[in-house]
Symmetry: D2
């Protein structure tokens, strides 16, 4: 992680205010009850997300001040997520049972901690402190995306299928046809080395040899994925990884998460909506992305292939600004949709880069300990804050996860 | 079920208003979030309890009126509990995920249905209608007890161990020593035949032959149960039923539910409190009650033994009036605590009386279909509305259930 | 348990030889591998059955002799079933993993123990010793039935569907039409008091009041049960106990265990055979028996009703002599098939009789500790040794068990 | 896969006879019952291993002959492992329930198929046929290792802890001290391109850039691993991957599989034996290998690092010849134990090499479909046939697997 300079501290205060405010804005339309529920062990209640990100600042920023007294010492146990170094924690699957503290109390907690952090930011701070505050804001933004994906899952579990928000559909327009764009070949460098923040898992920058390959110019669309389904994709074991086929059978998968049985509509943040055939397909597991690619005579890109292509592109796309927008059809020449719309599954298992070092202390638990059993996704989604993504950013989820805004871009050997 | 006469209709309206109001009063101190959570599949959220009892009146009373339009047709699926005859239902373990409708909307629903039922009660109604309204109110009272036991479990699942209500402890006083009172012997009659309401499972009244026996004059106390624990009761397999011992090992039981590790305090509706050694032990499974009795050289009473003794006693004790009170030490001569304080496990498996007939239609699903795998409890508890209990009342739970206010009275062969 | 007199000791030796020999005869056609496998936790391997019954004599008969040295001290742990008083035991679900000792070694063990017991029986023995040997032989006979039911299940788990033995089908003949025979009414006595052996759970003899009722003259047939299936019995929740319906859905039950999808053939000890429409339906759970009775407008008998009718009948029927015979159509006037063919589910939960006392010591674990969660069956089956059954005999299984030879006789209120 | 030339056919016949005979030799000391049992879903019975490898030749070699009639058409379903392309199969966890066909019948089956294959090998065969026979023999050798690891697990499940074979312990000698040997740096080539057989997953040969690093000169020893345990390694969450720590807690791991509680002895193929402190530690999961490396201030090697070092070494070590030998202390200069003793966990997730192509047809299911959720191991073990291993060989198991002969070699960044 490179760090903000001391001079940036004033703008850090503004950035802090804006990012923290965004979390509140994203949950403004939700009731205390909506913010309470946890629809599966992997998801967290909205209220818990708001409290945990606040605890992060309290634990890693405020607690460094020698005279700081915790807002409520009993809450440490409740809102620690997985930092074993700083003590035991409430079991993740039971976060939805914490009716106390109430949402109102959590909002008070946020205000208290915000004020205390702003007091610190108002004075001269050293580089380390600045970098931890920055990390806390990046962390907050990750939870903004989770807040959206978790509430989508929670509302989906309600037979009434209520919407997170009203939203007008983007008029469906034809997307550009799929074609393949040659990628870099030979020795490339990947990983973070530029100015600005990056997580520890994006470093060190290192060399990778790339074989000849090409990337699809855009993400796979709903119509293309529907063709896979109509062709019997979910019934043909030879298209699937062994573990994927076992999952299809155990979970009775027949279509992406949130798709309706009719295969032309799906549950979204705006309620049940007709699927735009030209928009990127969303809410696929790695197993489905991989099976689709095999069916299509292609494969998934590696993360190095993806990054070496993405690094030259402007970091722009259907990312989160004030409110999430549904995926949209791709337009234009060259590689499209590399950022935003849907996270793109890569064929790379999530692991450490050569020479990887975790952050010192408890923050070393941030990324490194999850380096088994997960696959890397790249590029951000409609729920990723627009200033949170970068070419080297590595997201990771287990291969059966589907509740994030996940899709697929194809690749080919050349 | 015998039914109220038509003349009673005016007082039925008053009774309706009072019982329905009690549900609201019992949940008045709970937040929307408290009323949302479901801490285990066997429990229901408070909000759901309020909605389901309302649905019961809508389904079985209002829907009999030919021009009635449902308050919200989509809610039928949500708030039907287990009446297969009237349609499919939301899966019980997922009741806690229904953030919508909100508590405020459920309270509106209650008012709407209350007004509609009162309109009916304001006119002449026939005996059948009166009897269904009465059944609905008995049902409501059952859910008042469940509301208390379910919220106790829900709050217990929170590491903060918040209290349902503040409450002053009754000063601990010595309880009367345990002794055994001879019961009726030979042919007795049990089951309902008196005036007034009873559930279908309390009928028909029938003859049972009782062997010589005696009942303890009071419930087993916390101190007596602690002696069982200190004597290694939870480590000695020969004291337990085979299925009970398997449960002890699987669940790692070492003390009653809600007891703290120190064996002198427990979580209660009033938060963590010191156990009164003289008060009835509470939150025991059938397996624990049975093992304790074996350890004590006694046995559990049969439900016929219990009823034949209870029928002569006034229906009074530590039952629910405005707010629940903790179990209290027994005082006085003769059989004490037969009503109230804690439900008493009997050795009788829950089954049908000879000649049992279920109610016609969907209401036939009320009791009969649960006649397997459960044991009968008698006498009501501190959470049973004072006018809801009677000598013939049969409560029933699986033998590993502990979250109700359940205790134990001993019996002996003579 | 009443006991054999000392004078009977000579014939006890003969009886011992005959019963022990029957176990060997029943397994003679099975390979070491057939005798090894355990197809579900509730079943045991044939080899284990042979070893455990031998251990029973070693533990409860031979070990009483002060100078007895165990055949192999390490085997005590392996072949103790559930007698916690005499030490820990190998976990039941893992019995099928004991490839050592081999079948040949177990047969040696049997011969060794047989010789040692015969040495004892050759001398004067006291009444207590005689009664324990008798208990051991009754126990052996129970395991002969289990050996047949367990191997049937084990062979069924093999896609090749191999037969336990060849056997000629009894020619199908029409059964007598079903009609109902009035039972005893008023005060009756049930339970064991006669000469001869009985298990502890059959005592004490005691009074029961019977309401007016009638029993069907014969068991329900395959044709009658098929009519229930064709009428949608497995799809109609209101016919089922709540727990039964949950089981139907979870287990996807659509027909009795071992019935083929065609509903006209079934897997049997003789391989896949055409079902005799007139023979008793077999391999039903309690839940299915209960649902069938409800569909038929009848109910299951209580065990007291069953016993009070059975006590007057000769103990004869399709019971096990040399080799098991398939169930047969009922012929003749009056109550038929009360003994043999299939065990008959009663509506009585398995519990203790008034004044019940377990046997002293470890043998007290024989029956009493299973008195929860099980239902009583009466009358024996085609796999019950002909001299093992009696009117007071109480068999018991959980309500979802189906792998025993279990069927149903209807009853009615009068 | 490169293939044997036609001229090699005679020696292929000899090779076939030798490899097929080895399977029989390895199981010679086991009874029919030992060969029957399956101690966990991941393991297979010995009998099944013998039958499945035979089926492989029948399916992929004999069935290519137009007039071949299957030995027993019903067995196809039983002995197909996971080749979805050629039909459905018996569920893996139930392989231990197949008492029929018997071991004797399976041995007959082997002889029949062996004769038929030898008939083919006696004539001129084309290159494709030769390559499939070769694949079948490589497959057979993989199952020879599995036969040993599966029977070790099966015998371990028996409280009697019987030995697979008697065997004299190698006298314990001090191992060479651990030091680190610099590896290749920069661009290297890995993957198969040499003469001779290789599996599809070892190709294509491709370039990889290696950062500066070093490999330990030998495997971690029992004494070194015991020091990790004594230092609290199994109680310190920060040493573990998140998924690893969850496994430690769920499975209550406290030491390697097969180690006794005393930490100085372990169950082996020769029964319970004292651990040689200087020999490689064995039966570790990836999670344990990774945690140990972190504790030791090192890391696991990548598979490319391992291979680039191993390619220069002679393929020799403690591999399987006639009978398995326990791991031994390392002696000598430079990299030791790269082949044999224990498989070495790498930090590389099992995936496809750039440009990977599966074999055509059903054989394409051999390796590729397992490329998710598993980690690569390198170098072979004491149970790997000596002529089965090579520098490019990629073994793979889930990160929690421990029943193979798995150990750990450390690596370091330089």
């Amino acid at each position: 992680m490179t760090t903000a300079s001391i001079q940036a501290a004033p703008s850090l205060a503004e950035h802090f205010a804006r990012v923290r405010g965004s979390s509140i804005a994203l949950s403004a339309g939700l009731s205390a009850e909506d913010m309470q529920i946890q629809s599966m062990p992997d998801a967290s209640p909205g209220k818990w997300n708001l409290a945990h990100t606040t605890w992060f600042f309290e634990q890693f920023v405020l607690a460094r001040e020698h005279d700081y007294r915790p807002y409520n010492a009993d809450w440490h146990y409740l809102f620690n997520s997985y930092y074993q170094s700083v003590g035991p924690m409430h079991a993740r699957p039971h976060r939805g049972l914490l009716s106390r503290p109430s949402l109102a109390e959590v909002l008070d907690y946020r205000r208290y901690v915000d004020d205390a952090v702003q007091d610190i930011l108002a004075s001269d701070i050293n580089e380390e402190m600045a970098s931890i505050v920055t990390l806390g804001l990046q962390h907050e933004q990750q939870h903004q995306e989770l807040l959206l994906t978790d509430i989508l899952h929670a509302l989906y579990s309600n037979p009434l299928k209520p919407a997170y928000s009203t939203g007008s559909d983007t008029p469906a327009t034809a997307s550009v046809p799929m074609n393949f764009v040659n990628g870099h070949e030979g020795l490339v460098q990947v990983g973070h080395d530029a100015e600005g923040f990056a997580f520890d898992n994006e470093s060190p920058r290192h060399r990778v040899w790339l074989a000849p390959h090409a990337l699809a110019n855009r993400a796979v669309t709903n119509a293309e994925y529907a063709a896979f389904i109509h062709d019997g994709g979910y019934r043909e074991p030879t298209l699937w990884l062994s573990e994927g086929w076992a999952t299809v059978q155990r979970e009775q998968w027949q279509r992406p998460l949130y798709w309706q049985r009719d295969l032309v509509s799906a549950f979204t943040l705006h309620g049940v909506r007709t699927l735009d055939p030209h928009a990127p397909v969303c809410h696929l597991s790695y197993f489905e992305a991989d099976a689709f690619a095999r069916w299509a005579g292609a494969r998934l890109p590696t993360e190095a292939e993806w990054e070496s292509a993405a690094v030259a592109l402007p970091v722009t796309g259907n990312l989160l600004r004030d409110a999430p927008c549904m995926p949209r059809a791709a337009q234009g020449e060259g590689l499209q949709q590399m950022y935003g719309d849907v996270w793109e599954w890569t064929s790379s298992a999530y692991g450490s880069y050569p020479g990887f070092k975790t952050l010192p202390g408890a923050l070393g638990e941030y990324n490194g300990k999850f380096m088994s059993g997960q696959m890397v996704l790249r590029g951000g989604s409609l729920a990723t804050p627009y200033d949170h993504i970068r070419p080297t950013y590595r997201n990771f989820f287990p291969p059966d996860a589907r509740w994030q805004f996940m899709g697929v871009r194809l690749a080919q050997d050349r």
